[in-house]
């Protein structure tokens, strides 16, 4: 009991300095993480004169919005943004549909090899995307499908599938089988049980899988860089990379393009930080 009391009265001098040190450390690391983003926002609004000497890290003296119009007009960032959105949305829809169906078969149906099939899908968590780059590239070019939305949507969906099934399995096992039974008694077949009972109850899984898949395809560079070469279908990361090659000596428009690519994500993160973090944890911790 004495020991317990000692722990409960922590506000002696030693503890105080230790806590201060801890907070200084935490604040220092926070600064290291925030600074690049802060710097990006400020130089996206500056002229070269300010960036290159007069005012390297301060707030912009003159807010140069023309950097943004350059990024949008010359850099075509608006179009790339749209492409990234289209690809992400279709990929999410595809992954969701396919994963929900597969999970239904894996968690509800009785068949030999259920466990084995699940392990087989889980292999997908460890397969690097490099594995398929040559065969997919060769196949896509034979089918004349390079530089289309599908050339990215299909591989992105396939590589997100394992994680989607993993997440969906966790949620679907929580749905009580009594609901299926009740539906059965009402005369529902498997497809109606799936669409009327299971799918509507999977909303939390849909959110988690969507966030995970979205981030996977929004930031992906290797496939996007290689499978798509025409301006009409390029994604944001490739577009930002191309723009910075174009504006080697003028940083403002490049900064503006980077802000345009990052800002929506950051706003979303501010409102849904817990949900986004959970979608990363869900996969790793269960896997």
């Amino acid at each position: 009991m004495q020991d317990g009391n000692r722990v409960k009265s922590p506000f002696n001098g030693k503890k105080f300095t230790k806590e201060t040190l801890v907070y200084l450390l935490l604040a220092f690391w926070a600064l290291i993480n925030l600074f690049p983003v802060y710097w990006m926002f400020t130089f996206s609004l500056k002229s070269n004169n300010e960036i290159f000497g007069e005012n390297v890290i301060g707030l912009p003296k003159e807010w140069l919005w023309s950097n943004y119009s350059k990024a949008l007009q010359v850099g075509n960032i608006g179009r790339y943004f749209l492409n990234s959105v289209i690809i992400a949305v279709v990929t999410i829809a595809l992954v969701m549909a396919v994963a929900l169906m597969a999970t239904f078969a894996l968690t509800r149906f009785m068949w030999k090899g259920r466990k084995m099939m699940n392990d087989f899908f889980m292999l997908g968590l460890t397969i690097p995307i490099h594995a398929s780059i040559v065969p997919i590239y060769v196949t896509l070019s034979k089918l004349h499908m390079l530089s289309t939305y599908s050339s990215l949507i299909i591989p992105y969906a396939a590589f997100s599938l394992a994680m989607a099934i993993l997440i969906c399995t966790g949620f679907m096992q929580e749905i009580p089988i009594e609901l299926d039974e009740a539906a059965c008694i009402d005369g529902c077949g498997t497809w109606r049980i799936f669409f009327k009972i299971i799918v509507p109850l999977m909303k939390p899984a849909v959110a988690t899988v969507s966030i995970y898949t979205f981030l996977q395809c929004w930031n992906e560079l290797m496939f996007a860089n290689i499978f798509v070469s025409d301006k009409a279908h390029k994604t944001l990361p490739v577009g930002v990379q191309a723009l910075s090659g174009q504006y080697l000596t003028e940083w403002g428009p490049v900064g503006a393009a980077m802000v345009l690519a990052t800002f929506p994500m950051l706003v979303f993160y501010i409102f849904f930080s817990k949900k986004i973090q959970d979608s990363f944890i869900a996969g790793a911790v269960k896997g």
Binding site: G4, R6, L26, W29, A30, I32, P36, V37, W39, F43, I51, F52, V56, M101, A102, A105, F109, M110, W111, M117, N118, F121, M122, T126, I127, P128, I129, H130, A131, S132, I133, V134, P135, I136, V138, I154, A157, A158, F159, I177, D180, E181, C184, T190, W191, W218, N219, L221, M222, I226, V240, Q241, W251, M258, T262, L266, F280, I281, A284, V285
Partner: protein, 317 residues
């Protein structure tokens, strides 16, 4: 994975048992996933293995050359695979020795219930969400020899002799390219470990505190053994992630100057799309897959070995 025995659930409902035993319906529900999975993930591994046995430009005839690509890959100075592989190993070692301990340290600090922990957590995780191209471009500008923040700051402090061509100098390029790579994912590992730490039942913590343990003892004897499975996952991600690393290196140096920052992935891409050596590119891809699987197996084995020893957790229970 806990797979409950379904039969127990079906009780007397014969109709439902019949429904959920239908082989054709099962197959139809699995079919889209199987097509996608086998077509894009499984078959290409075998195709990569097959292509790696040929001398092939990506078009025209293939010439079967057996394992010559692999022989060349591991022996030829000209290809430089061993150098690239060495760089990737260095990154893996740095990840395990610097990135993970830092992530664990931060997670422990935040996980023991400090004021503002969620705010710090959210800030630390933010870089993971930003596109690697954006991170890479930002660091390119931080490292810029004339106008970059790093050299400007060094000059302002009067340390002109420490300014470097960071990414342009063979001596510093590799380290300069690794810093952003290590930095970006500290938050990711920290988040996983933090989630693990938060799942430690509070009773364990309280019991140890009552027994007179201080914060570091609680971390050492209660928390660490408890989050071992997550440490294992984090280590696997750190090592395989290092072997696969591509985006940031591609944006920062693309393997240069003079191949000093080459990693297997950048080498593979240049083999494929600059030199049109599809057989060799496939060989690199195939070796990478094997490396990742081997690393995962070895790390699993190491953690299993350790778990064989008596656990501190049971002592305190």
């Amino acid at each position: 994975m806990g797979f409950p025995e379904r039969t127990a659930f079906f009780k007397g409902n014969g109709y439902m048992k019949k429904l959920y035993s239908n082989k054709l319906t099962t197959f139809l529900f699995l079919l889209p996933a199987l097509i996608l999975f086998i077509g894009i993930l499984v078959a290409p591994i075998f195709m990569s293995g097959y292509y790696s046995l040929f001398d092939w430009k990506g078009y025209g005839p293939k010439t079967f050359i057996g394992l010559d690509n692999y022989k060349e890959l591991f022996t030829s100075e000209n290809i430089g695979f061993m150098k690239a592989f060495g760089n990737a190993c260095l990154l893996a070692v740095l990840s395990v020795l610097l990135q993970l301990p830092l992530a664990l340290f931060l997670a422990l600090l935040l996980g023991s219930g400090r004021k503002g922990e969620r705010g710090f957590l959210s800030i630390y995780f933010m870089p993971v969400l930003i596109s690697t191209v954006v991170i890479g471009q930002l660091w390119l500008k931080i490292y810029n020899p004339s106008y970059g923040v790093l050299n400007v700051a060094l000059r302002a402090l009067g340390l002109d002799n420490l300014t470097r061509l960071w990414l342009g100098d063979e001596k510093t390029a590799l380290w300069a390219a690794f810093v952003p790579t290590l930095w970006q994912y500290v938050g990711y590992h920290m988040l996983l470990l933090y989630a693990g730490i938060k799942s430690v039942p509070p009773e364990y913590r309280e019991a140890a505190m009552i027994d007179g343990a201080n914060e570091s003892q609680v971390n050492r004897f209660i928390v660490l053994p408890y989050i071992k499975p997550i440490l294992r996952i984090s280590t696997i991600f750190a090592v395989t992630g290092s072997f696969k690393s591509f985006d940031l290196i591609y944006v920062l140096t693309n393997g240069g100057p003079n191949h000093s920052t080459e990693v297997p992935s950048t080498l593979m891409i240049s083999m494929l799309f600059l030199r049109n050596r599809y057989g060799m590119g496939s060989a690199i891809a195939f070796v990478l897959i094997l490396l990742c699987f081997a690393a995962a197996l070895i790390i699993n084995f190491i953690f299993k070995e350790r778990e064989g020893k008596p656990k501190c957790k049971t002592e305190t229970e």
